[in-house]
Amino acid sequence: MAKRIDVSGLSAYYGSFKGIEDISMTIEPRSVTAFIGPSGCGKSTFLRTLNRMHEVIPGARVEGKVMLDDENLYGAGVDPVAVRRTVGMVFQRPNPFPTMSIYDNVVAGLRLAGVRKKSLLDAVVEKSLKGANLWNEVKDRLNKPGAGLSGGQQQRLCIARAIAVEPQVLLMDEPCSALDPISTLAVEDLIGELKSQFTIVIVTHNMQQAARVSDRTAFFNLAGVGQPGRLVEIDDTQRIFSNPSVQATEDYISGRFG
C-alpha cells in the first residue's frame, strides 16, 4: 500500500517566478517525513508537486522527476487525476464539503471513482472514520453536515476522506495549524497510527511537532526574498534536532533566525 518517493532535480514555477529549485530527496515508505523551514521557502509548493496539485494554479509548472516506486509522476501520458487518487492530500484549513453530510464527505472520493454499492460504501465509512479516530464521535450523526463539526473533528474528517480511497501516500500541509492543542494531539496520534499503512509527508511550522511525529525531517530555506526555496538537508529527525550537519539548520532549529 505504501510507496517510496524519489525526487530528483525538481523545480517549480509560478509563471516566470521560480518557487523551488533543484530539489532531490528520497521519502521512505511507511514512515513520516516532516518538512520544516521559514515561511515562503517552498515547503508547501514542494508538497503540492508530489501529487500534481501545483499545476492547478494558472501559470504554474514543474520541471524534474518524481518517481513513485517505478513510475514518474511527470512522465508523458501520466494523468494527473490518476496521480491524485494515488497520492492523497490533507490541507492546512479543514475543508470538508459544506454541502455534504459526514457520510457523503468520507465517500466523496469513492463516488468519484464510480463506486456505488451501498454495503461497500458503508464499510468504508466505518473503516475510514475509525482510522481517523472520529467514528465514536460521529457514528450517530453521519447524515448531519460535515461543516457542523468542530475544527479538529473537521480535520480528522478530511483525513478520513483522504484515506477512504486508500492512497499510497498521504500529504499533509500544516494539518494542525488551524487547530487547538487537544485537536492537534488527536491528529498527531493519528499520524503515528497511519504511518504503519501509508507513506506520510507533513509540512509543519511547529518544530516540536516535527520532532514528535516524524522519522525523517527535511529543512528548506531560501537565500533571500524573491529567491527560490532550496532543500538544505534531509536526515533522521533525531539527528536534525540534535546534531545537524548544516549550520543553517541548527540556527533555524535553535531559533537564531526565521
Partner: protein
C-alpha cells in the same frame, strides 16, 4: 499575557494579535499610541453608547428603509385587491375558468383561464431553455474560459441584461418570428405526436406568433440576468473546496459537480427566480410577438393565447371603468403567482439550509 490597560477594552485584542516576540514592549507603549490615534487622553473612560450619532442615523435609515418596503408591498396589495374586488362582483362569468375577456360588455364576462395558461406555459418554456444554457455560460466564464476571454464575455452578458424589452420585442417580431418557421414545422413533423408540440392543420404554414416562440424569446431575454447572477455565485465557491475535490482525484467536471454546483445551488435558484419574475411579467416583448386570441389551445405551436401582462397592455387603453378594474384583478393574480413561486423557491432553499455552505 498582561493586558496593558483596563480602561480601554479594545487594547486587549490588539495586544493579543501581536506576534509574541513584541510582548515585552507592548504594555508600556500601546495604550498611549492608541489613545493618540483615537484622539482620547489616556485616562478618559470609554465612550458611552449613546454618543455615536452615525450609528443612530444608520440604524434609523436602515430600519426606515425596511419599514418603507413593507408599506409599499402592503399598499400595492391593498390597491390591487380593492380595485379588483369592484369588478369581480360584477362578473357574469367565472373569473378562473372563463376564456373570453369582455369586461366592458353588458353584462361583463371575463376570466383568466387563457391568460394563466399562456403565462405559465411561456414562462416554463423560457425557464427550461434559459436555465441550463445560463448555467453553462456561467460555468464557462467562471471555471473554463481563459481569463482573457472570460472578462469580455462577462461584460457582454451584463450588457445584454440591460437591453430594453421593447428592443427584444422588435427583434423578436421582425427577426425571430420569420426564422422560427423552420423549427416549428420540424417539431410539428417529428414531435407532433406529443400533441403539445404539434400544430393544427388549419394554421400550418402561418407565422409562428405562438406561445412557443414567445417562450424562446423570453428565454433569450432572461438568459443574461440568470447568467450574471449564477456566474457571481460560482465565483464565490471557496478555492479550498475546489482543491479538496481535485486532491481526491476529480476531473474538472467532477470538481464542478462535487464542489461548485452544490455550493452554488441556492444562488442559481435565486437567479432563476429573478429571471422567472421577468418572464412572468414581460409585457412588450410578448405583445409584439404573440398574435393573441381568447382560445386556450394545448397546441403551443398554434398562434393565439395570451399572457397577463400582454393582455393588460393590449386592453388597458380602450378599457372603461369596469374594464380597468377587471384588468387590475388579473394583475393581482400575476402578483399572487409571483409571490407563490418565490415562496416555493425559498422553501426549496431553506430545506437544505444546514448544507448550504453558509456555515463553512
Amino acid at each position: 499575557m498582561d493586558t496593558p490597560s483596563p480602561t480601554v477594552p479594545q487594547d486587549r485584542d490588539d495586544g493579543r494579535n501581536h506576534p509574541p516576540h513584541d510582548t515585552v514592549d507592548l504594555p508600556a507603549q500601546l495604550p498611549s499610541a492608541l489613545a493618540q490615534a483615537t484622539g482620547q487622553s489616556g485616562v478618559s473612560s470609554p465612550p458611552k453608547a449613546g454618543n455615536r450619532i452615525g450609528d443612530t442615523l444608520f440604524l434609523a435609515a436602515s430600519r426606515g428603509s425596511g419599514i418603507l418596503l413593507l408599506c409599499i408591498m402592503a399598499a400595492i396589495a391593498i390597491f390591487l385587491g380593492w380595485q379588483a374586488s369592484k369588478s369581480i362582483g360584477s362578473n357574469h362569468g367565472n373569473f378562473f375558468t372563463t376564456f373570453e375577456w369582455n369586461a366592458d360588455a353588458t353584462p361583463p364576462v371575463f376570466g383568466i383561464a387563457v391568460l394563466l395558461f399562456g403565462t405559465v406555459v411561456s414562462s416554463v418554456i423560457a425557464m427550461a431553455v434559459a436555465v441550463p444554457v445560463a448555467m453553462g455560460i456561467a460555468l464557462f466564464i467562471s471555471h473554463y474560459a481563459p481569463r482573457r476571454l472570460a472578462q469580455p464575455i462577462a461584460y457582454l452578458v451584463d450588457l445584454l441584461a440591460a437591453v430594453p424589452s421593447i428592443v427584444y420585442g422588435l427583434w423578436g417580431a421582425l427577426f425571430l418570428v420569420p426564422h422560427m418557421n423552420g423549427l416549428t414545422s420540424w417539431m410539428n413533423d417529428y414531435l407532433g405526436w406529443t400533441y403539445v408540440f404539434g400544430q393544427s392543420d388549419s394554421v400550418a404554414g402561418s407565422a409562428p406568433r405562438n406561445l412557443f416562440t414567445v417562450g424562446v424569446l423570453l428565454a433569450i431575454m432572461i438568459l443574461p440576468i440568470i447568467t450574471a447572477v449564477s456566474r457571481e455565485v460560482f465565483r464565490q465557491v471557496p478555492r479550498m473546496h475546489e482543491e479538496a475535490a481535485l486532491a481526491l482525484g476529480a476531473t474538472r467536471w467532477e470538481m464542478i459537480r462535487t464542489a461548485v454546483l452544490p455550493f452554488g445551488r441556492p444562488g442559481v435558484i435565486s437567479a432563476s427566480m429573478l429571471g422567472l419574475g421577468r418572464a412572468l411579467g414581460e409585457t412588450m416583448a410578448v405583445a409584439t410577438v404573440l398574435s393573441p386570441s381568447d382560445k386556450l389551445n394545448l397546441h403551443i405551436m398554434d398562434p393565439g393565447g395570451g399572457t397577463f401582462a400582454q393582455n393588460i397592455a393590449a386592453k388597458f387603453g380602450e378599457a372603461f371603468d369596469n374594464g380597468r378594474s377587471a384588468l387590475i384583478a388579473s394583475g393581482l393574480m400575476l402578483f399572487v403567482i409571483t409571490l407563490l413561486v418565490n415562496a416555493g423557491a425559498r422553501m426549496i432553499i431553506a430545506r437544505r439550509k444546514e448544507f448550504s455552505g453558509a456555515n463553512a
